[in-house]
Symmetry: C2
Subunit: 351 residues, 2 copies
DNA sequence: ATCACCGGTGGGAGCGCTCCCACGGTACCT
DNA sequence: AGGTACCGTGGGAGCGCTCCCACCGGTGAT
């Protein structure tokens, strides 16, 4: 009636100690086996593994977290309301990459929305409690205090788009400059001469870089840059409409538009249609993101593709390195860890 | 140079013990204040709160979890691939309700996808480690082993739609029977006489209940139920097309269609259009879910609305009760805890 | 005056793990 | 033969908290 059967006494979950007893070894040895330490003989390892299997042992994460001072969890922080998260394919693609890369590990991913002030306060509290080993920060605006909070708390973090050229946090980004440049070079090669640009929000660094690419492509081809052809947008469809209307009023002779996002391009397209302009015959149109919008537009739209899923994967890589490096309190030289991935122009019939 | 300043020695986070010392009380008392126990005098409470503020004390969750055997986290388990999660507004609405209700508490929400076999194995491991206090289960099919695993592990769980009339888990559902019935009653009141029904997957209990509602509405109005007018679908657009084609072949005289989901209704509409039938003049159409599809369809479609956000809120309520009740190991009588929320018919021009 | 009671409090024990030091044994040197 | 090195191992200490029992002094009943 005493110690017998698969589970030990009182129906509770088995502990390290019980596994050790069963395998006839000490606690330390079981711990080493569980954590994959190489300093265990094969025979002992086998015995421990057998005991683990027999008892159905599963480590107690809370105890481990307390003793080892880590949580085995990382947070993906989205500083936006849920709504935008679901509306934009960007996040779902990124999540896919992150999830894929993380499934190789024992790490748990937490998805945290911090759109409202209230949510942000909760998040600050959460981070102060060190409930995650690291943080992935996506879609951060230039003046966001979150990155500073993270470095202050000494929590490893990776940001999905640098806030500026002087970004101090490790970051992963796509080549916005190259993307903007290739879009314009493509339009030039199609014979377009008066190419307008609807920009994204200019407090987003990536949007600025696309403008830089636009400019340089024109200059490199020996054209002048006409500031009248550059109209700021805000990444929304309505913003795209407004910008397009403005551009047409100013330069009715334009023969191409490069929009800083597909959504804005969709807005621009509506205005072009309403004005009776044909795409691409009268005005060629190129978007950015290569989202479902681009594929399903009438006509299907040329767009710059960013490898978002790959970006997610690389962010995890960086973050895990960051976490591993910080463990033995190395405080090593803060070498710049910034990854930039290439974009690709997907050509369709709108240009 | 010794103990001084806001933070205590060695830059580490302050502990309960340090707060106690600062406030001139014992550890137990600080714990009581932190956890809101009433058995503390006002003066003592104030002193402790001051010390907490001065030191910037934040409880160590790992230590708490270990000592108290709880995690203060619950999981929202989605047994679908990420893709479907993002594609269907159902999940985003549910998440909104869940998040809203949970923000009142200290609980952390974990979003876990378990679409692939691999992910499901990881989830099983995760649950076995008791890393959450409770589980919210959405979109579960009749033969899913997850609910049984949860009861076996004695983890509190709430399911978003009962698997059958004999569901043992606490559940929250909308009134599928009433929804189906109201759709048909509406069509009858519009003068329709030959009303077809495209059902959802019949291994989903809610889909069955909608059929029951369809039947009873007809019977109650003194009509007979013609089995030829009931055609199974599978919740997809293509399934809706197939079902509609089949129905038209069998009963070209039908004058109304009630589809078990908006997506299937969209498929049915395409077929009706192709056959040159006008909506609602020749055939009236009613969908289910009141999704964006219904609002944006041409013509805008009458549809049965489910209060999904509210369902999310109620699920959290139930789960928290469940967790609280289980704490002192009461093992009380398993009274049925099943919530059913009313649906609402949203009338538009398709009927 | 004596006792039972109760609100308020302090602090020991212990949750299950990791970390690390110490120990015995073998192998290889001198 | 003695010394040194290192591998594999056992187990003490301690992570920061909660739980619970013991204790203290003040009340009201006897």
């Amino acid at each position: 009636m005493a110690s017998h059967g698969a589970r030990s006494r009182s129906g509770g979950r088995p502990t390290l100690e019980e596994v050790a007893a069963r395998a006839g070894v000490g606690r330390g040895t079981v711990s080493r086996v569980i954590n994959g330490s190489p300093r265990v003989s094969d025979a002992t390892r086998a015995a421990v593994e057998a005991a683990v299997a027999e008892l159905g042992y599963v480590p107690n994460t809370a105890a481990r977290a307390l003793a080892a001072n880590r949580t085995d969890a990382i947070a993906l922080v989205v500083p936006e309301p849920e709504t935008r998260f679901f509306a934009e394919p960007y996040f779902s693609d990124m999540l896919k990459g992150v999830g894929a890369e993380l499934s190789e590990t024992e790490m748990q991913l937490l998805l945290i929305f911090a759109g409202s002030d209230r949510e942000r306060r909760r998040l600050a509290q959460y981070l102060a409690a060190h409930r995650v080993d690291g943080v992935l920060l996506v879609s951060v605006h230039a003046d966001d205090p979150l990155p500073d909070l993270l470095s202050q708390l000494e929590i490893p973090a990776v940001i999905s788009g640098p806030r500026s050229a002087a970004e101090t946090l490790p970051s992963v980004d796509s080549d916005n400059y190259g993307g903007g440049r290739s879009a314009v070079e493509h339009l030039l090669s199609r014979g377009c001469r008066t190419i307008a640009h609807i920009t994204g929000r200019l407090d987003v660094y990536g949007a600025q870089r696309r403008v830089d690419g636009y400019r340089d492509a024109l200059l490199a081809a020996g054209h002048e840059v006409d500031e009248q052809l550059i109209q700021p947008g805000d990444f929304t469809e309505e913003g795209g409409r407004r910008a397009m209307t403005e551009l047409l009023a100013r330069r009715p002779d334009l023969d191409a538009v490069f929009a800083g996002s597909d959504v804005m391009a969709a807005g621009a397209r509506q205005v072009l249609r309403e004005e009776g302009l044909r795409i691409p015959d009268d005005v060629a149109l190129v978007g950015y993101d290569d989202s479902a919008i681009a594929r399903h537009m009438d006509p299907p739209m040329t767009s710059v593709r960013q490898p978002i899923e790959e970006m997610g994967r690389r962010m995890i890589d960086l973050l895990l390195t960051e976490i591993a490096d910080r463990r033995p309190a190395v405080t090593r030289e803060l070498e710049r860890r910034q990854v930039v991935l290439a974009t690709e122009l997907v050509t369709r019939t709108s240009s």
